[in-house]
């Protein structure tokens, strides 16, 4: 029964990884930008929620209506001020700029908020758990994070497949030059995609902060996990990203059950194994995966 419990916990944990990863996957798919500051932006969301929730004296969930729009606007500004210029210079420039940004955020957070571990005030839901039978315990927080991830991914999928905005996004992802030719205005679409990516990152960051400790350097490991979920799931597929996140979560929790010291190592090794055996990802159709691969 311990194992069933561990697998279930891992699946739920995977939801959070998918929630961070979907923004990474979206910006890469549409803008061809791998945002190396994505994890740090998630952590910024957690810090912002922490400051607001202690200032207002409410559990962190009540700050969401403030944090998410702020993150959306910040993402748009990031695109307009930095990424757009970097994109004009080339793909490597976007990598360098976002890495520089990541270093700045991490160290500014250390200056402004110290390197101490923090945890968010999650209110009553933070300690409650759903018990099934005697052995299986599902913390409500994990369950809520998982359900939120599923809702966000389904919502994104619906937006992409049903709305005119989604049609523009897909057109740009397929062929940006042709999309421009037929009159799609790329600038606003890029800005909205960047806004959504940062807002989902901030949402994920708040769950991470409510579930466990975070500090200014949490962003780096967060980025790595999100990135691994994207690659394992297969590039360009949102459901693949969810599956990839779950594969990571299950590996981490099950190996952690055996020996805590090996949990993160096992996740990284799973990623390298997938890279070696199926670089297109475990769950991808394969079409989009080629974009990340080298030809020749």
């Amino acid at each position: 029964m311990t194992w069933v419990n561990a697998v279930l916990q891992g699946l739920l944990q995977g939801g959070i990884y998918a929630l961070i990863a979907c923004g990474l996957s979206l910006t890469f798919g549409v803008m061809r930008v791998v945002n190396l500051a994505h994890g740090d932006l998630a952590v910024c969301g957690a810090y912002l929620a922490m400051v607001l929730s202690s200032a207002l004296g409410v559990p962190v969930w009540y700050t969401l209506p403030l944090v998410l729009p702020a993150a959306f606007v910040f993402g748009m500004a990031l695109q307009v001020v930095l990424l757009r210029r970097a994109l004009r210079t080339g793909e490597i420039a976007t990598v360098l700029v976002t890495f520089g940004l990541s270093v700045m955020i991490e160290n500014l957070l250390q200056e402004g908020a110290t390197a101490n571990d923090r945890v968010l005030n999650a209110g009553a839901i933070g300690v409650a758990a759903l018990r099934i039978g005697g052995q299986i315990t599902l913390p409500w927080l994990f369950t809520a994070a998982f359900l939120t991830a599923c809702a966000v991914l389904s919502g994104l999928q619906l937006l992409l497949s049903r709305t005119s905005w989604g049609r523009k996004v897909r057109a740009i992802a397929d062929d940006i030059d042709t999309a421009r030719l037929v009159g799609v205005r790329v600038g606003p679409v890029f800005a909205s995609v960047a806004g959504i990516a940062v807002a989902t990152a901030a949402l994920a960051g708040i769950f991470i902060g409510a579930i466990g400790n975070f500090n200014p350097l949490t962003g780096e490991s967060t980025l790595i996990f999100a990135f691994e979920a994207v690659v394992i799931g297969g590039l360009g597929s949102l459901w693949g990203t969810l599956a990839g996140g779950m594969a990571l979560g299950v590996t981490q929790v099950v190996v952690g059950e055996l020996n805590e010291a090996y949990a993160v190592l096992a996740v990284h090794l799973l990623f390298l194994l997938v890279l070696a055996v199926r670089p297109a990802g475990l769950f991808a159709g394969g079409q989009q995966a080629r974009t990340a691969q080298v030809t020749g």
Binding site: L36, F99, M104
Partner: protein, 346 residues
């Protein structure tokens, strides 16, 4: 050289094509003198001058080899600290087996290259940002693997054996000379590689791998060579750092800060040039001497300047200078004397 000759013949004129210019000859001459002076520093200046210069030399070596990877071949690795760590622990392993630690620097560099070989099989399947993050994963794996191995000290680290026979003055001077040699070899190695056709191939691959492969460039081989050479350079630097600190601790030797510094030096100095990384290394060195006391602000500034440099001066200080005035101190291209235009082939 052949191509230029043909182009000139087609226009019916006879032009002399040369790699060297007066500036380049003068620069090479003063470089030789400068190296001789630097080599003599332990005799006339001693410890106070050696300490900071060792840092400057490791910066130059890190920048030169990272530039080979990112500047010429388009492989932006943010996980080169993985090979710094491998070099440091490699030096420990050979020193434990009784090999002189100074001779062990070469062994550590070779070990880093050997470790990089299987890793390259995985990483070089990716490019761009995905390659960048995957290189971070590899560094994380190495760091965790070391902390899980009690034989190399686990999380607490190990002290480097084999230095007891040296007095402090001699030890410092030996490290100084070793750092000078590693820095000089890194710059010279990149210079020679770039001159010998590899530079042209690598630039083609960095610019557009598909187009390069269509033109007959062996893309995989170029990327592999750049990756291995950069790992060897980083391994040697890791060994130098271990020699200087005499204690190897996983979190400090596998610090991502080294990769951040490589990025900064190459971007600010001039990506894809030979001179640029050296200039960037000297700028970072000055910045570090000035600001290293407040660690976080130092890194905020380093990251910020890197962002601004990428956007405002994409080819760095030296790229700006050389395209403006056509300067080239390390002659890797060809030029037609008496003409203003300057070609950067190679």
């Amino acid at each position: 050289m052949k191509r230029d000759g043909v182009a000139a013949a087609a226009r019916g004129t006879q032009l002399k094509v040369s790699r060297w210019s007066a500036a380049a000859t003068a620069a090479m001459g003063s470089l030789a003198v400068g190296l001789a002076v630097l080599a003599a520093v332990p005799y006339f200046a001693g410890g106070p001058a050696e300490q900071p210069l060792i840092v400057a030399f490791t910066f130059i070596a890190m920048a030169a080899t990272w530039n080979l990877l990112a500047g010429f071949s388009g492989l932006t690795s943010f996980g080169q600290h993985a090979y710094l760590g491998v070099g440091a622990y490699g030096l420990y392993l050979v020193a434990v087996h009784g090999i002189n630690p100074f001779a062990g620097i070469a062994a550590a560099a070779v070990i880093a290259g050997l470790v990089a070989l299987p890793v390259s099989g995985l990483l070089l399947r990716l490019s761009g940002g995905y390659f960048a993050v995957a290189s971070l994963v590899v560094a994380a794996v190495f760091q965790i693997a070391v902390t899980l191995a009690p034989s190399v000290g686990g999380t607490t680290g190990v002290s480097l054996p084999g230095l007891a026979g040296y007095g402090p003055v001699l030890r410092e001077a030996m490290i100084y000379w070793a750092a000078l040699i590693v820095a000089a070899l890194s710059v010279a190695g990149v210079f020679l590689l770039v001159r010998a056709g590899f530079g042209l191939d690598a630039r083609a691959v960095g610019g557009d791998p598909v187009a390069a492969s269509v033109l007959g460039v062996r893309v995989g081989r170029v990327r592999l060579l750049a990756y291995l050479a950069a790992a060897v350079g980083a391994g040697a630097v890791g060994a130098l750092i271990a020699l200087q600190t005499q204690f190897i601790e996983p979190t400090s030797v596998f610090s991502v800060q080294y990769s951040v510094e490589m990025l900064f030096m190459v971007l600010v100095g001039g990506i894809g040039t030979i001179e640029g990384p050296v200039i960037g290394a000297l700028i970072l060195f000055a910045l570090q001497q000035w600001l290293s006391q407040d660690g976080a602000w130092y890194l905020v500034l380093v990251g910020g300047i890197a962002v601004v440099a990428t956007l405002a001066v994409p080819r760095g200080l030296w790229g700006f200078v050389s395209s403006r005035w056509g300067w080239s101190l390390f002659p890797v291209g060809y030029r037609v004397p008496g003409r203003d235009h300057h070609r950067q082939a190679g």
